[in-house]
Subunit: 215 residues, 2 copies
């Protein structure tokens, strides 16, 4: 049964791959699972049909027969449980990979989300310029520790896993800020993720939808 | 094998149950698993011995023989996988409960963390008073949708699950702000969580450690 995911009709990032459907496309490509995409407009995201699948009115969602999921972390985990390629088989190694999924989404992403909010939604506020360095330093406080943990390793804990997929996706949001490039090993880690054939295919698929048309 | 978790030697919240070890204690109580607690000081949390278990230097951690985990979501999920009581057996219902775990930690908690940062770490900043209403409104934008989804139901999706355990725990952080009480059904939902015998035991256990001494 081919699952259907949703994505933005036109992503606000103009095809940079930062919309969260890219994370799900990447996971689907890693496990070799074909998928359909239903594009939704901002108006459709707030309509009852979509809210019935995603109570918070966001993308992506995941439909597989009667099963309807939202939350990128949950969709990636579901794919990792149903198919080989994203979680190790060993019980303890699997639990550690899942730990990194949660670390990406609940420890590393929140200060990055706060930085995006400061840069986008509070850009015109009178406090913006003075406050931004504080927000950036909170991101750095987290990345300092992540960088120490990663060290010279290729991935966070042994082989590439769903934990790396989410961590790389979260860190990609920082590239525009320049902060990622302050950490040589983290920048190389993200580049390793982007070089994976599954990521290349996922990025191209979202780019085909979201890139600004030339005409 | 009795697992060992870590908690603050003295929680900054003075025993209100908002430190994240309470979430893990609650999960352990729900599944009927005895546990040991190792209390760590702020200095110990930054020491190499602790960073080897928790790269971000936080609590809680979870040790079970050779397995060492961090991230509350991951620890709760590990307990839910190993013991009955926190996830439904049906494949699709299980995937939906896991979805609510991620929704609690990656959709609902980030704006609440931002509010805590604004109230605690930016309280003395010149923009604090003018900015706080914006931050509160971002929390409300999320709770509006959560409240609609919950409606008159007892729990987020059928029976109580690890998704409810994490969502109630996240919402508890809002009580002091007064925002939770703006949503009658969410306030009742949190109260239902707090009334569970497993929560009562978990709260009492952390209170015994963290409450200010009278002497």
């Amino acid at each position: 049964m081919t699952p259907t995911i949703t994505g933005f009709e036109r992503s606000p990032d103009g095809g940079k791959g930062l919309a969260r459907d890219t994370r799900v496309r990447w996971a689907l490509e890693e496990v070799g699972q074909p998928y359909e995409v239903r594009l939704v407009s901002f108006a459709q995201m707030k309509a009852p049909e979509h809210l019935a699948i995603h109570p918070f009115g966001q993308i992506p969602t995941y439909e597989e027969g009667p099963l309807r999921l939202f939350e990128t972390g949950s969709i990636v985990f579901h794919l990792a449980e149903q198919h080989a390629g994203l979680l190790p088989g060993d019980r303890d190694a699997r639990a550690r990979a899942i730990t990194w999924m949660f670390a990406a989404l609940n420890t590393v992403e929140p200060p990055i989300l706060e930085l995006m909010t400061a840069r986008i939604f509070e850009r015109d506020k009178p406090w913006s310029e003075e406050r931004l360095p504080l927000v950036k330093d909170r991101v750095r406080a987290t990345l300092d520790k992540l960088s120490v943990h990663l060290g010279a390793a290729d991935w966070l804990d042994g082989a590439f896993s769903a934990g790396d997929l989410l961590m790389v996706s979260v860190l990609l949001r920082l590239r525009m800020s320049g902060i990622l490039d302050e950490y040589e090993n983290l920048a190389a880690y993200v580049a390793r993720g982007e070089a994976r054939p599954a990521y290349v295919r996922a990025f191209a698929a979202q780019f085909a939808v979201n890139a600004p048309s030339i005409s």
